[in-house]
Symmetry: D3
Subunit: 203 residues, 6 copies
Amino acid sequence: MAGALTRFVDENNQLVLVAGGGENARTYINAARKLGADESTCDLLGIQITRANAELLRVAFEGETAAVSARSLTRLPELVRANGVVVMGGLQPGQSTNAVATLAAEITRAKVLVNATDVDGVYTEDPKKNPRAKLLRKIHVGKLLELAMAGRVFAGRYELLDPLAVKILERSKIPTRFVSLSNPENIIDAIKGKDMGTLVVYD
Amino acid sequence: MAGALTRFVDENNQLVLVAGGGENARTYINAARKLGADESTCDLLGIQITRANAELLRVAFEGETAAVSARSLTRLPELVRANGVVVMGGLQPGQSTNAVATLAAEITRAKVLVNATDVDGVYTEDPKKNPRAKLLRKIHVGKLLELAMAGRVFAGRYELLDPLAVKILERSKIPTRFVSLSNPENIIDAIKGKDMGTLVVYD
Amino acid sequence: MAGALTRFVDENNQLVLVAGGGENARTYINAARKLGADESTCDLLGIQITRANAELLRVAFEGETAAVSARSLTRLPELVRANGVVVMGGLQPGQSTNAVATLAAEITRAKVLVNATDVDGVYTEDPKKNPRAKLLRKIHVGKLLELAMAGRVFAGRYELLDPLAVKILERSKIPTRFVSLSNPENIIDAIKGKDMGTLVVYD
Amino acid sequence: MAGALTRFVDENNQLVLVAGGGENARTYINAARKLGADESTCDLLGIQITRANAELLRVAFEGETAAVSARSLTRLPELVRANGVVVMGGLQPGQSTNAVATLAAEITRAKVLVNATDVDGVYTEDPKKNPRAKLLRKIHVGKLLELAMAGRVFAGRYELLDPLAVKILERSKIPTRFVSLSNPENIIDAIKGKDMGTLVVYD
Amino acid sequence: MAGALTRFVDENNQLVLVAGGGENARTYINAARKLGADESTCDLLGIQITRANAELLRVAFEGETAAVSARSLTRLPELVRANGVVVMGGLQPGQSTNAVATLAAEITRAKVLVNATDVDGVYTEDPKKNPRAKLLRKIHVGKLLELAMAGRVFAGRYELLDPLAVKILERSKIPTRFVSLSNPENIIDAIKGKDMGTLVVYD
Amino acid sequence: MAGALTRFVDENNQLVLVAGGGENARTYINAARKLGADESTCDLLGIQITRANAELLRVAFEGETAAVSARSLTRLPELVRANGVVVMGGLQPGQSTNAVATLAAEITRAKVLVNATDVDGVYTEDPKKNPRAKLLRKIHVGKLLELAMAGRVFAGRYELLDPLAVKILERSKIPTRFVSLSNPENIIDAIKGKDMGTLVVYD
């Protein structure tokens, strides 16, 4: 993936990568919850793991195109301008890394936000449970919010996109597309505007 | 208000106060928006003002009962244990100070969260527009979420409680009451469990 | 004003802007003082507002010419070199933002320091009280110090230039001019060396 | 383990716990190394995981006996005095968490340092490879250094005790015992001075 | 000196100690100035040395009465309340450690400020140059300011009390006494109100 | 020396300079030790002085080629890329500035590490005590470790190269040469690969 992304940055583009927590974050969160930790503390623990994951992304860029890490939104625009590639993990309890990505897109006035997951985009139902689930090529931000609200925000729990993230999309109308992470080229293609996965529409 | 709260703390209680931004924050946010700032940057500016407001609260406690300021959730439990009273403003773009208050309640395992505004609690309609609006004595967290979702999250815009805040209430079932800020004793009464304003119910 | 300053920076110049606290800072300081706060704490509160004001200045530069914020002198030269435009508010209790501006000029070896206020320069008397007050085209740093010493340093109180600021001018002989903030072009003209307002002389 | 340690702290004792990285740290380090990261960067990544591990230890203490986290040695003595229990992970590239533990013991003037691993103490040979390996009841610091020097310091690689750690023991003659982590009571017994595992001797 | 001060703190008093830079700071400042450094940078270098000096003071308290270090005024009151003894060095370019001491006295609402130097107090002339110089038992803050203004503020240059420091005394009327550092008991005696050295008067 | 190094940087090279503590650090460390400080605290005090020394190096570069300071390894590669010249002092108790230099070389993937001291390189014996001591033109890293282990790691004590530093060299095989600091051109010559002093060999 780093190869594809590095080529993209070498074409004089700027990139912010936000890493999620994945299975490892969930393992730590579950251990903390069993020990009696509150949900905010579980979130904070998960954030530590997302930062380690972000660091692995950063390392993948070492060499020609060097990436740096950011731990707050305040200096993010400055870091992107100076370095071209910035990696981030989570920031605050109560915010998924999806929400971080939307905030990062907003404050850097990103041209496009790509949400890459393990499915091809937004489906009418869970495609892993129902093989007849249909991929939506477009989804209105209002509908997306409705789907997001149906979930509950426990730390580390999988959510397509949490309500806060959708609210940020809605307020800034950030051009957003959901694609599959399975093929690294997908991300570049989606950034470049290829019609794939699910596009969020605002009108 | 500080007098009432100081007496409460002197009775060996602990207190976290989260200040909102008020009219002054909205003035700064509007100025920034006119200059072309993105919403996250507007949020950050509003947060600076909430912190100045929190500082005024802190100062009101000087003397017998000294308060300290916190700028992150990570060390909040430690600061509350060591100092008894902690003041906070906003923390992150995309989060209202209502959400900060719920996260602070969650991570400190607060016995009660009181949301003091300029109305007596949650109404069926906006009491300032419709005199026949009826005060709800209880509201289910699900209904609260529905109300919260109806609003849009522009920086500094008044919201009873933003969706993120309600989601945090829901996940940790924090005992929460909405009261009027008009009388300082209200806050203490509400903290002590007096039946007033609007209570959030979870079942 | 941002338009004029942006053009100046686009001509390959570097700029540090130090914002004062204005009426809003005085409102907070007076509130804190009434609550019994000491003067250093009042200063710190005023500094929070100067930083919000500086942030508004920063936002005005967004776009082609992006500005960054600085909160200490240590990294200021590095930030100016890397970004071209840096905004600052106050730094420490006991220091006006005028003093910050002189220290910033000193540590960045600025070619010129322009102090823009709501009057045309330094007068023989307060021009708002006495219409016969005469504008001084030049003032010796020793005379400036004498004027500065006559004031008292309460937080947020208007002072032409506080004694510390004059002492810094004196020790580093920074080329300094007082002009009116009424016309944005004035600041650029003064930076470029046009004979206007009041010039500080050192011999 | 938290139960045993909590009781110990409740008896008015002070405790600093330093978490290692374990298998999870090695997973991250190996991934980074494959991506071409240098050893210092691998160390930094491992340190992020030791801090998440330390956070899990911290959480186990929540309730009666609350623990706090430390990320530098400078404020460690202050944190121990104020809070009773402090957890730490790694600090710097080139330093194992064993070295951190010795430095923490040194700067807090700890009465005893217990090194708990998955074997009963220091053996003549690797007890997992050679069943006839004999447990040493005492080991001279000079001999310990010799053993430590035989290893190589790659990030995350298991080492009984790295040379830096032994050098710190040597310079401050910290009373140190190696015990098995298998039974939580072992740690308390070792702290209280029970003759078990392997004791480091200095004369 | 630490012995005398420790006994004072053990009598349940609170203490902030501000260390100056001394000869060593002047050596660094002169070296920097010869290398072409600006005065603010010289100040920053001197501040680093005052902090090392403060650290030596801190170390002298280790044991029964442990001291902590502070690097800003913001958290100073909190640190004094929690720890009893706090040491500080310089804070900012343009501020002598005398000014830091007055600001620290102001923000902690200190009962008394003792300025201990190598002479017995304030003299009519320099006692080292003129043996007929007369020790003043009292000095009005206005006269003190006049003396302070006669000096020039180059980094590390000896000044009885810089103008900023006097301005802070003036605004908060901090009870202040100048005594000789030659006898450690002097400092305690002066703190306890013994009539010695030179007292600053405000009316 | 700055002149020689500046020319080197102007030829489009990058440079990290790590300053030692020297005689001044030893003075502070001895004073602290006499006051009863532990070795880690002595190390921390020495580190403060190395940072002041590094600042003097930084100042020497002001003008065409501006240097910046770093206080951690994490952001070091980023700072070197952005600024060309970075100065550092010590980082952590238990680590000499020699170790810091090897870690800095490792994390920046330096092409060469030059260790400049007051002797011409590594000798068979102490050349100051035995005039027949012979300069080694090459030394194997294993032999270097053996020499390093013979010393003891008290704060501020002169060591050719501490064991941790040698271990870092060993793990990353950093091309390293020991030369005399007596002639500034030596450092540049050694960086450029001239055969002088003592070269570390790894096979």
